[in-house]
Symmetry: C2
Subunit: 231 residues, 2 copies
């Protein structure tokens, strides 16, 4: 490998929340890396070689080792750079809860937000909106339990669930602008609203999260980011 | 809690591969527990209370702490009973690879085996069969990489991926009986065929895996196990 290239590389897309996750973990651990913006319409050889199974971003390359899927990458970073702040909770039960809710967000909740864009008819749309709010109420309960009265899911510091859910804040705000629906409603989910404000003003987070207005512009320009963007 | 009840409980179903996973992890760690067979047609209050989000088995209850989803439970068991043999690899990259392939098995490969039962028409069936074999070839490559020339995915000992894939061996063999298709074909996937034989004769595994013939009988009796059985 040439001396000018970084030993840590991230193949991603600035607007992909799964890429944002890895960027947040790397920032928290103060890891320098080379960010390689992928073109999903014309995937690079490097992406196809490093993620031959799914052919999707993000891929984190550490030396000659590629790691795929955002939550797995975060755990790898936490396991490898152990001298930085911990991302996963240290208690096994807290860790299990963090993994449970991260899986809920990826498998159940965020897919609803993506579905909303393609919903046909008022009834279908209303049904998805209701499910999104039901999910937010569950996540509010999760926040109360996981944060144990502190500022963030991770307690006093940004942790696994702060990253797993926080990466979507740009898209949550973007869909608020596009749909006129206020997801982050203080009367419904006061804990999460406060959490989102605190997280977005955190020094490790605020420069990494993509701006909602830029995401709206991107969404308006394209047919969406579905193709080739994975978790 | 009454003195007669066990401090460790598992809510599950003998035929559920996800339940088998937890049973395998508990056996490996020599943990005694109470097994509570669930009736998915009439879910118990305990199940609904301990997994209110998904209402699915397996749920492992440690004292008053419920943990849901089989792979999360296994990691919890490994993190909690640290004096037993390790289930996850100790090296961060090996751990990431084990997590990657476990997710592939759950999200991509095993759903194909379930799809096969409901496939309509020869063409649809042939397409799924082809994808199942393609997946097995990928898993063969994963075995070669992860096992590093040793007997099992976990090396010399039963590990995370041995559990994650091994739990399906009963169903793999049951579908061989029902369809006449030989999935575990030495000419195609010699590494995995040898692995399956070694794993099934391991003392921690052989009494836990459900018998293929019993699964065939169950499948023939019921319309399948889809409803309420999660990962």
């Amino acid at each position: 490998m040439a001396a000018t290239t970084s030993d840590e590389k991230l193949l991603g897309l600035w607007a992909s929340p799964y890429t944002t996750r890895v960027q947040l973990a790397l920032k928290l651990k103060s890891i320098e890396y080379e960010f390689i913006q992928e073109n999903l319409q014309n995937k690079s050889e490097l992406l196809l070689q490093t993620n031959p199974v799914h052919k999707k971003i993000p891929v984190f390359i550490h030396g000659d080792k590629p790691i795929c899927e955002s939550l797995i990458i975060i755990q790898y970073i936490d396991d490898t750079w152990t001298n930085g702040p911990s991302i996963l909770p240290s208690d096994p039960y807290d860790r299990a809860m963090a993994r449970f809710w991260a899986a809920y967000i990826d498998d159940k909740w965020f897919p609803l937000l993506k579905e909303l864009g393609g919903a046909q008819g008022d009834e279908a749309r209303a049904s998805i909106v209701e499910k999104i709010f039901e999910g937010l109420v569950l996540l509010e309960e999760a926040f109360v339990k996981c944060s144990k009265g502190k500022a963030l899911f991770g307690g006093d510091n940004v942790g696994y669930l702060d990253i797993a859910l926080g990466c979507f804040l740009g898209w949550i705000k973007a869909t608020e602008i596009m749909t006129g629906i206020k997801w982050l409603d203080e009367t419904k989910i006061p804990g999460l609203v406060g959490w989102a404000e605190r997280l977005c003003s955190d020094s490790s987070v605020k420069d990494v999260l993509p701006e909602a207005q830029k995401l709206v512009e991107l969404y308006t320009m394209s047919a969406g980011l579905e193709k080739g963007v994975s978790n």
